[in-house]
Amino acid sequence: MLNWLIIMVLLLGFASSAQSETVAPYGIVADAIPKPLTRNPGDAIRGRGLAAGRRANCLGCHRMPIPEQPFHGTAGPRLDGVGSRYTAGQLRLRLVDPTLINEDTLMPPFHKVGGLHRVAPAYRGKAILSAQEIEDVIAYLLTLKDE
């Protein structure tokens, strides 16, 4: 049963990647995407840069241990210690498409191109983050452990 589910999601993943080359296929098991989206492991330093930057804009909504940035948003929960609360696979699903966990979430789907409305032309058919960038951000989040 679960295998079928995984195959379905893989097919859906391929279907949307046919529209655009930018979304990697993935399979969901429970509340996680256990397998990395790329062969190259994530780079935590690049991930930290992405989290603080304007494109991913994690700091727009989350407080994170990035003291050199003056303004941290409070629209989402604090991410200190998030690497102790979740596995890489759980973080991956939350970044790729958080609406799969919480339909009403404010958090953007960072690796998704289908099912969105009125995307501005400059961003159409493009995921916010590439597969490699998702892995980089996960690598960074996993360094945020509770003391």
Binding site: A75, L106, P108, H117, R118, A120, A122
Partner: protein, 261 residues
Amino acid sequence: MGPYQRGLVLAVALLLLPGAALIFPASAQEARSGYFYASPETQALQDDPFANPGSLWLEEGRARWQRIEGAAGKSCASCHGDNGTELIEASAAYPKFNKRLGRPITLSQQINQCRVRHMGAAALAPDSEALMSIELLLRQRAAGRPMQVSVDGPMRPFYERGKALYFQRRGQFNMACYQCHDQRPGEFVRGERLSQGQINNFPAYLIRWGTVGSAHRRFQLCDRQARAEPFQIGSPEYVALEVYVAHRARGLAVEAPAVRP
């Protein structure tokens, strides 16, 4: 459940009710102007008529009120008097249903209707300094009056359409108006403090614009933040959205000239 237990449940529920009211005070849902959420510096700028940049637009608006333009040789004052007193109520009631067009129009669009149909003058460009100065003057005369847009009768379908737009997720960021402005007023997005996204204060001087702009221009900014393709100023979509958002602000005092970050 026996009658005794049922009575007990009722008694406990009645005891909890006032408690619930304490945890979720009605004021949490009460309509509040963006002024309430603005920084003390921004509030001070708005409160001081000499420092408030909107004063310049009001001055321009007063001059334009009297200026004769167009083939009919009329000014706004020719039809509405020197102070436009009878427009005070109306200025708090837009968007308003226009029978001839069969749809609601904004105050900006009404001003242009007057110019084209009654003055024989050209319509002013959307959000132009000229249009904003006249509109801001009308709103300033209505300042303190409650927002009172009608959503009855023929307005209903436009209200419903606007409501759907308010709750529709849009853009690469997949965000809807209510998620920021109903669910999170008071929270921060980077350095910006979220308000309820009310429009009792438009047209408003935005420090980031360095000019006075319409509610539709603000909607565009929010849609762009979600990386959505914004609708046009004056488009049927934004007029409908304005009907919903104006009705959501009903009872809030018209605020003009307002200053926002």
